[in-house]
């Protein structure tokens, strides 16, 4: 029976929901409604028709209240009431939000796992993304950077096709004249080091560059004071970084100050550049005008390895053609030399933006990155994020059964599948936004540590609004990604089943297994990868290098002061009982070893390129390098200092000599005196005079004066008192000069700092990835134990033993772990093999890392699932069965 008053009350209720309608307004509308009803009934309609007619005439409550709101609001831009959802959002978004929050409160543990996992994933992803961006964008800030190239010398294929990053001074002017119109500008940069003195400050600076006058025009480093065109124009000019200015001059104006280099050259500071510049392969604190050294070997000697030469090409230049023409250029200037040495070098060009990532050139002592590492890191970042998303998918779809009733009710009331999918995606988005906020905090906290670890400088574009927009879009996208699968499972429930008490099949458990396997495959690849990297790094560090690097102190003798006093220093030090021996050399093992052409007598005077080492007579004994044949240099033979060499085994093989036969063969050194033959007096066993990244090259050791390093072998264990002694002697002989020293074992190990860095970053990423995966597994096992509580209770009552139940419950997870291992091992094997092939000396890839990984993952799975499983198994069955 139609009851008018009831219906009117209901009708009024729809208005009450609207905050902008006050009771009086509704009352007024009601009276209007009643008037219309009366009017209709007078025309002969029955009550119900009249009511419906009247409701229709008055119009919808929403649009009326919107009008009321418009007349009340002061918002000039939008008449949309604040409680109404914008058109682009799902209509029921606030309800979804409310329900999501309720669910979050009800399942705090799950929410925590989800948000924690996701935020770690996001933080790692964002950090690594910016890190790789940084790495890949080196030198991207230079104006006309796409036209800038560095000139490299290249040895022919027959000699190993190696590249040399440095050229000599005369190249630049010659190229400028020979290629005018093709090459717009040529620039020389000489990375140097030296003793910088100002008043009573003497500091050894190793970022002291010499460069041509137009350095600041050629490159786009920012000048804070000084005119780009003038600062380096003329000899004895110097530009310093703002930080260096503070270091030397404090608050005083640096411009006009005079500083000394190596107590020999004086420079006037003419400008200041910003030391914080975008990432660049060149990193310097001082740039002095190269013109200062006009007329010296540095600028005039063709055969030297002293400067980087950069070309800025004309925009119309065909690079390949120029590269080809440069070979003719080489022949023009070096043709005669090549005919003699039989070692024709060609020239090639390297794009400015590629310099940072190409680390394979010789004598290229600038900042370098590693593309493989960048690629590996990017993959790992994506994987960590993926693991976090999978966690979310798994946990939400597992929890879905508990929400079956809600979904049933929504469906019965009329929710369509589309709107349910929208609901769960919105819910996931709420999670992803929350995780984003947590991730932002994590990033703020982690970034300084990460920068330390990778020695990089990550710049977040925090003042760019686009950054926030992209972040937001990324989080929404993540919500879609993570929410789509649970949404699909959840919205598929049949309402009748969902609402009856019938137990629902655990939706999507098959896919869940696949997802868990995916997570574990990623984790396994990471764990075994870390083990491989670790074993290779420790192999590099611990491999017998063939010489004794313990208790050796190194003093750099690059500066004339130290070099000139080295013999006195040696004499003074050798008297000390704690010092075993002192030796001079051109470069310590792991350090600089130049490459010379040697004229070999029994090869018909043909030239062979080999690495060289200039030493005194103590070198072999100090480092305990094993002599295989012949004898060491000795004071007893007066001609040793000018007419003897010692070679390594590889050199003997390279020259087709049996090591024993090599004794007595003769060679001349092109750089010294081509006519003066020296005899091989000994052959040493191969030792690693360079890092283990490269093979042992042929090496010729000979006494000469070009000493740059002083090595001091210490006898005593009391290092600090010996160091004090050395410092005292040093101070007496070379007063006012800073005493700086290194330990050989440390400098040698520093060759592997890149590997160590990679190892630590990779380890951290792996730990994070595993943490997320473990969180997920823990959640999943909790869910599985919970949902099988009753089953376990019944099994127990029927007599199942605890062991059997544990096997039953954990067995499932272990199966997944085993399957993951089977999938992951070949992948990991392949990647490891590839990575190891970067090294000339490497550990054998054995089964051990993979076996360890298998054990580790099984343990991890046991730990993650164990607690919940044991809890379920040892629960009193009465508890679990008694409810309904």
């Amino acid at each position: 029976m139609f009851n008018l008053n009831n219906e009117i009350d209901k009708w009024k209720k729809t208005f009450r929901k609207n905050p902008s309608l006050e009771d009086g307004y509704i009352e007024e509308l009601e009276q209007h409604l009643r008037d219309v009803i009366e009017e209709c009934m007078e025309k002969g309609s029955d009550v119900e028709t009249a009511f419906n007619e009247a409701v229709k005439k008055i119009g919808s409550g929403a649009s009326i209240s919107d009008e009321y709101y418009k007349s009340a609001t002061r918002n000039k831009f939008s008449a949309r009431p604040s409680w109404r959802v914008p058109r682009w959002m799902p209509v029921m978004i606030w309800n979804y939000y409310k329900v999501a929050l309720r669910n979050l409160k009800r399942n705090k543990g799950f929410a925590l796992i989800n948000i924690l996992g996701l935020s770690i994933g996001i933080a790692v992803f964002v950090l690594i993304t910016f890190y790789t961006q940084n790495e890949l964008n080196y030198d991207g800030f230079h104006k006309d950077g796409e036209r800038i190239y560095r000139l490299l010398r290249e040895a022919p294929k027959s000699k190993g096709a190696y590249k040399i990053a440095v050229t000599s001074g005369p190249f630049a002017p010659a190229i400028k004249t020979d290629f005018s119109g093709v090459v717009d500008e040529v620039l020389r940069v000489c990375p140097a080091d030296g003793l910088v003195s100002y008043l009573d400050q003497n500091i050894w600076e190793d970022r002291f560059y010499l460069a041509d006058n137009h350095f600041f025009n050629f490159f786009s480093y920012e000048l804070l004071t000084g005119n780009k065109d003038e600062v380096l124009n003329g000899p004895n000019k110097l530009v310093i970084s703002d930080e260096t200015a503070v270091k030397y001059f404090g608050d005083e104006n640096p411009v006009g100050k005079l500083i000394k280099l190596d107590n020999q050259y004086s420079f006037e500071v003419t400008g200041v550049f910003r030391s914080k510049h975008p990432n660049s392969h060149l990193n310097f604190d001082f740039v002095a005008s190269l013109q200062t050294f006009e007329g010296t070997w540095l600028l005039d000697e063709w055969w030297s390895n002293s400067v980087f030469t950069y070309l800025k090409l004309n925009p119309t230049t065909d690079v390949n053609l120029l590269d080809y023409q440069l070979d003719a250029f080489m022949l023009k200037y070096f043709g005669d030399d090549f005919a003699q040495t039989k070692l024709p070098m060609t020239l090639t060009l390297e794009r400015l933006e590629n310099i940072y990532m190409n680390a394979d050139s010789r004598y290229d002592h600038i900042a370098h990155g590693n593309k493989t590492v960048v690629i590996i890191f990017s993959f790992v970042a994506v994987f960590v994020l993926l693991i976090a998303c999978i966690n979310f998918m798994n946990l939400s779809s597992a929890k879905s059964v508990k929400r079956a009733k809600e979904i049933g009710v929504r469906k019965v009331i009329g929710a369509q599948r589309k709107s349910l999918v929208m609901q769960f995606i919105s819910e996931a988005t709420i999670y992803s936004l929350a995780s984003g906020a947590v991730a932002a905090l994590l990033i703020i906290f982690i970034t300084p540590h990460f920068e330390n670890l990778t020695a990089s400088d990550i710049a977040f574009p925090i003042d760019n609004p686009l950054f926030y927009l992209v972040s937001l879009l990324f989080l929404v996208f993540l919500g879609f990604l993570a929410g789509s699968y649970p949404a699909f499972v959840l919205s598929g429930f049949k309402p009748v089943k969902a609402l009856s008490n019938e137990k629902l099949a655990d939706g999507g458990s098959g896919i869940r297994r696949i997802l868990v396997v995916t997570q574990f495959v990623i984790s396994i690849v990471l764990i075994s990868g870390v083990i491989v990297v670790f074993s290779q790094t420790s192999f590099l560090i611990n491999k017998d290098s063939g010489f004794d690097k313990e208790q050796v102190v190194l003093i750099r003798a690059n500066s004339p002061e130290i070099r000139s006093k080295r013999f006195e220093l040696k004499e003074a030090l050798i008297k000390e009982s704690a010092i075993k021996s002192v030796s001079f050399m051109s470069g310590e093992p792991g350090g600089f070893h130049d490459s010379f052409a040697f004229k070999i007598e029994d090869k018909g005077g043909e030239f062979f390129q080999m690495r060289s080492l200039v030493t005194d007579f103590e070198y072999l004994s100090l480092y305990n390098v094993e002599l295989l044949h012949g004898r060491n240099f000795s004071e007893q033979y007066s001609l040793d200092s000018t007419q003897a060499v010692i070679i390594n085994e590889t050199a003997a093989r390279y020259l087709d000599w049996q090591p024993a036969e090599a004794i007595g063969k003769r060679m001349a050194i092109r750089f010294y005196n081509e006519e003066q033959y020296r005899s091989v007096i000994g052959v040493v066993k191969d030792y690693h005079f360079t890092s283990l990244h490269t093979n042992i090259d042929p090496l010729v050791i000979f006494p000469a004066n070009d000493h740059r390093v002083i090595a001091i072998k210490i006898k005593s264990d009391d290092i600090s008192s010996v160091l004090n002694t050395i410092e005292a002697k040093f101070g007496e002989l070379i007063p006012g000069f800073p005493f700086q020293y290194e330990f050989l074992d440390e400098t040698f190990e520093a060759n592997y700092s890149a590997e160590k860095k990679q190892l630590s970053v990779l380890s951290i990423l792996t730990v994070l990835a595993i943490t997320i995966a473990v969180l997920g597994l823990f959640g999943l096992s909790t869910h599985s134990a919970e949902s099988r509580k009753k089953e376990i209770g019944i099994r127990k009552v029927l007599g199942a033993s605890a062991q059997r139940l544990i096997v039953l419950l954990i067995g499932n997870f272990l199966k997944l772990v085993l399957v993951s291992n089977i999938i992951a091992i070949p992948v990991s094997w392949y990647i490891s093999k590839h990575w190891l092939s970067n090294f000339a000396y490497r550990t054998e890839l054995t089964i051990v890392p993979f076996a360890l990984t298998l054990i580790a993952t099984v343990l991890i799975a046991l730990i993650a699932t164990g607690h919940q499983t044991l809890k379920a198994v040892f629960m009193n069955p009465v508890e679990s069965i008694k409810n309904d």
Binding site: Y25, E27, Q31, H32, G59, S60, I64, Y68
Partner: protein, 114 residues
Amino acid sequence: MLSKNLMAASSKPLILAILRGGENYGYQIIQRVKELSGGELEWAEGMLYPVLHKMQKDGLVQTKWKLSDNGRMRKYYRLTTKGREALNNEKQQWLKVHGMLEKVWQPDASLGTT
């Protein structure tokens, strides 16, 4: 049918003019509008009230709840002095527009400057 914009624009002078004849309540205002338009002007009747509310807020009308003869409460609207001024103002404007349109629509005027 009138366009939505024109309807919205004309509602204010229409209501003001109707109220000039004395205080009135919503239902009757609607009836009067219907009469005037010959049934052509169809408002969603509820939409009248927000307009009245706005006019009250602007001080153009005053309201008062009264008990009617059949025992129901009714809210009556009455023009204020400001409302009268507003009506005059509106009238001037509408007449001006009307006059302009009239002139433009004269058959010979449409020929332009000739």
